[in-house]
């Protein structure tokens, strides 16, 4: 295995716009909001940036294609700006590119920024994705909720889980995230909900109700990365460094052969194994301090606990119901509200996850601050359970 990027790259600064229905903010405004915060946090000027990576998914309703929308919106000093797109994991891809550039020594300081403007469609939820000219001739006119809802039907059958019990566990996931999101001033949804509300909400895609689905939000997030040496030279202390950055992409095995059982995300398990190896983590359930996972739907978060080897197979329902991932549990998950409540501006989400872990590790998370977190994990999933992109990143304090 390659040597990896453990402790070779540090976070110099981060920024995140308020997520939500930003009716009066353009994608350019959102980019500026996140960028200004990140650059102020980093304490550098634009002339110190060597290169930038830009993540946005739905270019047609957002910023348009290529790197130019970011170069122009931020008036960057004619540095290289490269757009990356990898479904909902695009933000993590932009970070990976910037981190790799620094780790390679090609750049001293690099910027990664993700943005998505989703509330200019005229309706709720995500627009339908187009996938070339062949797939639409056989593939269902599918939407995200129903793609992920299928995890629940397959999971129930595989482990013989009662439908009502699974629904309650899913409700617990969402109730927890709403409670967390309520404490986060940048979160899209800041209301506390009850289990009963979650259980009785209108069905969006069997068995997912309204509260099993994450917010569809406008927002942007940015990170400036550099080497630990440069960060220290710039006066930074309590450095947060990258321990692992892994991405796994489906190769068709799940969708086009008969071996995958439909109850989990194959790529998540591969990316998690690689990330733990890269970070030198042997027992993630004991070693990780907090998680930001891709809770696009409550059932996704639930099966992800098994995909990240935090819960034993078939045991996530019990761990969730026991509060293992609650704010006061062993490994708090979505302490910022997650996709569920912080919101899900697609191209920004992976960087938003990193933002919360960065704040927590630096002790800057205000009313939601956890006690002495040392190591955090982000899990950023794009696509749908049977074909997807999964990024698992681990960041921590420098000498952990």
């Amino acid at each position: 295995m390659a040597k990896g990027i453990k402790d070779k790259v540090a976070i110099l600064g981060m920024g995140c716009s308020k997520f939500g229905e930003r009716w009066n903010a353009s994608p350019e405004d959102l980019m500026v909001e996140a960028y200004k915060e990140a650059m102020a946090d980093a304490g550098i000027g634009a002339e110190q940036l060597d290169a930038a990576w830009f993540s946005t998914h739905m270019e047609d309703i957002g910023t348009g294609r290529g790197g130019m929308p970011m170069g122009i919106a931020l008036r960057l000093p004619n540095i290289g700006v490269t757009r990356v797109e990898n479904f909902c994991a695009g933000g993590s891809e932009a970070v990976r590119a910037a981190v790799y550039a620094v780790a390679a020594g090609a750049c001293d300081i690099a910027l990664a920024l993700g943005v998505e403007k989703l509330k200019d469609t005229g309706y709720g939820g995500l627009p339908a994705a187009t996938v070339g000219t062949y797939v639409p001739q056989w593939y269902p006119n599918a939407v995200g909720p129903a793609n992920f809802a299928q995890l629940a039907t397959a999971y129930r059958r595989k482990f013989g889980v009662d439908a009502d019990l699974l629904k309650r566990a899913m409700a617990h996931v969402s109730v927890k995230s709403h409670a967390n999101g309520a404490k986060n001033p940048k979160a899209h949804l800041r209301n506390v909900i009850t289990e009963e509300q979650a259980l009785k909400a209108p069905i969006i895609a069997e068995p997912l109700g309204l509260y099993d689905c994450c917010g569809v939000s406008d927002g942007a997030a940015a990170v400036v990365v550099t080497t630990p040496e440069i960060a220290r030279a710039l006066g930074k202390r309590d450095l947060v460094t990258f321990k692992a950055l892994q991405v796994s992409v489906s190769n068709g095995w799940e969708m086009h052969s008969n071996q995958w059982d439909g109850s989990y995300c194959h790529t998540a398990r591969i990316a998690a194994r690689r990330a733990y190896a890269e970070a030198g983590i042997c027992n993630p359930r004991e070693e990780l301090s907090l998680l930001e996972v891709h809770d696009c739907f409550s059932i996704t978060e639930l099966v992800t606990m098994e995909d990240l080897f935090l819960s034993a197979e078939g045991n996530a329902v019990k761990d969730v119901m026991d509060g293992f991932f609650d704010a006061d549990g062993k490994i708090p998950c979505q302490i910022d509200g997650g996709l569920k409540c912080f919101g899900h501006p697609i191209g920004a989400s992976g960087i938003r996850m990193l933002y919360e872990i960065y704040l927590q590790l630096q002790g800057r998370a205000e009313s939601r601050q956890l006690a002495n977190p040392k190591l955090g994990l982000t899990h950023n999933l794009g696509g749908q359970p049977s074909q997807n992109v999964c990024s698992v990143s681990i960041v921590g304090l420098e000498n952990i």
Binding site: A205, N251, M255
Partner: protein
């Protein structure tokens, strides 16, 4: 000997309650109060004359992968979806028949199914191989019209040939006259109909007996010898009156299925024939006549081989599979008589790349997957590389048909978010017996019909409609495998 060597039918699952229609329109059309009895068959939104013809053909041909005995497909209908693009050609692709099979659309009158039958018999006489005669209609009628209540949707199939003849062809006659009881100019949807009394007296009452007399003479038998007289009509008791006029025993008159199905139009005579053949006895004679731009009649005699064949579901089976539909607005919406609000999600462009369709037509229209010769794994869509982890083999996949194989639901959902003509929108992953997996849409389904592990079968349906350019996309969908129900089970609404 030439004649019928196979038969099948198809009646859509939905059966619209006539009472629901009459009550909805009572304020406007109180004269139909007397018609508020029984049901009429109603095509689902994703069915048309092409998909129903495919269903009837599969009922007739069975699950056998070898369909090389079929040399020609004649598709008769007065509601073909395409005016240009051979409709029977789409049926041929769906049935995965050979590329040298002759295909033909036959249309323009209510007796075009019998025109197709005559053509098929000529081909059999010339020893040109077996001909699959298909007839289907997805009736288009105006809201609050008599036709709306009288009509039904359906399809039928006959296989005409020389081997193992189930019903021997004895004779026929045709009367071709431009008697315009109704008409529909090209591009129009709905028929314009003349006075019923004139149609009865001058049309049916005179032209059909002439055709029947000619057919009986050609067959060399008398009217009294007829055991089953098939004459589809929505004119009340017209079949019985005709029998009387022609000297056919009243007991020989075959029930027109009007209470359950309605008059399905072009396919109706063949649908009734397919129903009668299921229980017919060796030696019985069948007279089949239809009216339209004249009249046509055929005589067959059932052979001793009749019990050697069974359609897969058969007309009797389709009749029992119905579920009563009480939503009149659903019917109007499916028949494009009522435009329901689709929301912005209904605006998505459904333009079909015809180059792509042609390149992948066997996979899309025929549901042909690729089976890796090395591993035996089945992949859909077929591809150059297999999906074997770690060692994807190149060019090892051979065509492997999935349409007649059963599947099982691996995972599923039903959602209310995307635009669907019949919400909620069901889809999920199907694992096929023998290998192969497709994430696909489900149809003819209701709440409680499906769970992970439910056995499913494939049906050929409309995938999407491109309203901007006037194009239908066809693909296969999964529907729960339904055991033959008892007669008392046919109720409920989807």
């Amino acid at each position: 000997m030439i004649g019928i060597v196979g038969y099948g039918g198809y009646v859509p699952r939905l059966r619209l309650s006539r009472k629901a229609v009459v009550e909805a329109n009572a304020w406007f059309a109180p004269q139909f109060a007397g018609k508020a009895r029984g049901t009429r068959s109603m095509a689902n939104w994703d069915e048309d004359s092409i998909t129903m013809a495919v269903a009837a053909a599969r009922d007739c041909l069975g699950a056998d992968e070898d369909r090389s005995h079929v040399a020609a497909v004649l598709l008769a209908s007065s509601t073909l979806p395409f005016a240009e693009r051979q409709n029977a050609g789409i049926v041929r692709e769906a049935l995965t028949l050979g590329r040298n099979v002759e295909v033909m659309d036959i249309t323009g009158s209510q007796r075009s199914a019998l025109s197709a039958l005559g053509e098929a018999l000529l081909r059999a006489k010339a020893d040109a191989g077996e001909t699959l005669v298909l007839a289907a209609d997805n009736r288009e009628t105006r809201a609050a019209s008599a036709a709306e209540l009288d009509c039904g949707d359906g399809a039928a199939a006959l296989l005409i040939g020389r081997d193992k003849v189930l019903a021997e062809y004895l004779g026929s006659a045709t009367v071709s006259v431009d008697f315009v009881d109704h008409f529909r100019r090209a591009g129009e949807d709905i028929d314009y109909v003349w006075e019923e009394r004139w149609i009865r007296d001058e049309g049916v009452g005179k032209l059909v007996p002439e055709a029947i007399a000619g057919a009986l003479k050609d067959a060399g038998i008398t009217a009294e010898q007829i055991d089953h007289f098939i004459f589809p009509t929505s004119l009340q008791k017209m079949d019985v009156q005709l029998a009387k006029k022609c000297g056919i025993r009243e007991a020989a008159v075959v029930d027109g299925l009007l209470t359950q199905v309605g008059d399905t139009g072009v396919p109706h005579a063949l649908l009734l024939l397919a129903g009668i053949l299921e229980g017919a006895q060796a030696g019985q004679t069948i007279l089949l006549a239809q009216f339209g731009s004249g009249a046509q009649a055929f005589v067959f005699r059932v052979t001793a081989a009749i019990r050697s064949f069974r359609p897969r579901t058969g007309v009797s089976g389709w009749l029992l599979r119905g579920v009563e539909e009480t939503s009149y607005t659903k019917f109007l919406s499916f028949k494009e008589q009522l435009r329901l609000e689709r929301g912005m999600r209904g605006e998505q462009d459904k333009k079909t790349a015809l180059t792509t369709l042609y390149r992948h037509r066997e996979a899309i229209l025929g549901l042909v997957a690729g089976r890796c010769e090395k591993t035996g794994e089945v992949h859909f869509p077929p591809s150059r590389l297999s999906y074997t982890p770690g060692q994807p083999a190149l060019d090892t996949q051979k065509p492997y048909k999935l349409a007649e194989r059963r599947g099982e639901v691996l995972s599923w959902s039903a959602e209310y978010l995307s635009f669907s003509m019949a919400p909620p929108h069901y889809y999920g992953q199907i694992d096929f017996e023998g290998g192969g997996r497709i994430l696909m849409e489900f149809t003819d389904i209701a709440r409680g019909d499906v769970e992970s592990g439910t056995k499913m079968e494939m049906v050929f349906r409309i995938k999407d409609v491109d309203e901007v350019r006037g194009f239908n996309r066809y693909f296969w969908k999964a529907t729960p495998l339904r055991p033959q129900p008892a007669a008392s089970d046919a109720k409920g609404s989807e």
